[in-house]
C-alpha cells in the first residue's frame, strides 16, 4: 500500500513538472512564431522560416523548457504506463487555455471552455486508475 502511495506521489510530481515545462515551452513557441509570421508552403518560404526559427531567442528558451518536459516525461515513463501518463498530463490544457487568454489575449468561447472542462474530468478519471499495469525493470546503478 505504501509502495502504491509512493508510486502515485512520484508520478504526480513528475507529471506536474511535465505540465509546467510543456506549457511554458508551448507558450514561448507560439510567441516566437507570432514574431516570425505565417510559414509559406514553398521552398523559399520554408528556408526563410527555418532561418528565422534557428535565430529566434524566444524559440530557444521555449526549446529549453521542452527539454525539461522531455526529461521528466522520459523519467516517468520508466515506471508508469504510457496510457496513464499521457492523459494525466492533459490537465495542463486548463492552464494553457488560461495562459492563452491572459498572456496572448486570445478569445476563448464558452463551447471551448466546456471542452477544456471535459478534458480535465477525463484526466481525473484516468488518474483514479493504477499508474502501472506492466512489469518494469529497476535500473542497476551499482
Amino acid at each position: 500500500m505504501a509502495t502504491e502511495g509512493r508510486l502515485r506521489v512520484k508520478t504526480l510530481v513528475m507529471v506536474c513538472a511535465m505540465v509546467v515545462c510543456a506549457n511554458a515551452g508551448d507558450l514561448l513557441l507560439k510567441r516566437a512564431m507570432l514574431q516570425i509570421g505565417a510559414v509559406k508552403l514553398s521552398a523559399a518560404g520554408l528556408v526563410h522560416a527555418f532561418r528565422m526559427t534557428v535565430t529566434s531567442g524566444t524559440l530557444w528558451v521555449g526549446i529549453f523548457f521542452l527539454c525539461g518536459f522531455m526529461l521528466s516525461y522520459m523519467t516517468v515513463l520508466s515506471w508508469a504506463d504510457y496510457s496513464y501518463v499521457m492523459p494525466a498530463g492533459a490537465f495542463g490544457y486548463a492552464l494553457l487555455t488560461f495562459f492563452a487568454v491572459v498572456f496572448l489575449h486570445e478569445a476563448v468561447s464558452a463551447r471551448r471552455w466546456v471542452g477544456v472542462v471535459l478534458i480535465c474530468v477525463g484526466v481525473l478519471l484516468v488518474g483514479q486508475t493504477k499508474p502501472r499495469t506492466t512489469s518494469v525493470a529497476r535500473e542497476a546503478l551499482a
Binding site: V39, S83, Y84, I119, V121, V126, G127
Partner: protein, 123 residues
Amino acid sequence: MMHVSLFLSFLIFGSTGGEIAITRGMKATGEPERLRPKELLRFLGKALCNGWFWAGVPLMALSFYALLVLLSWEPISFVIPASALSYVVGTFGAKYILGEEVSVARWTGVALVCLGVALVALG
C-alpha cells in the same frame, strides 16, 4: 483547411509513434533508484544508448515541425487541444503494442478527453 488537417495528422501520428517507441526504450532502461541529478544523468545516459529511443526521435522531430507550422497558422487554444486526438491513438498503441491494461475507467477518461477535444476544435 486541408493543410491544417494534413499537418495535424503529422503531429498526432508522429508524436504517438515516437512516444510509444520512447516508452518501450524507457521500460527497457528501467526505473532510476532515486530522483537525484547524478542518478538522473546516469539514467539519461543509459536511455540514450537504447535503440528504441532513437527510433522515436525522428517521429518526434516530424511532429515538432508540424506543431511549429500549425502554430504559425492557428491560435494556440486550437492547436494544442486539437492535438489531444493523439490520446485515442496512443491508448490503442499502449494496449496493443505495449501490452498495458486499459480499464473501463481509463477508456472512459480517454473518451471524455476526446469529446472535450471535439468541442474545443469546434470552437
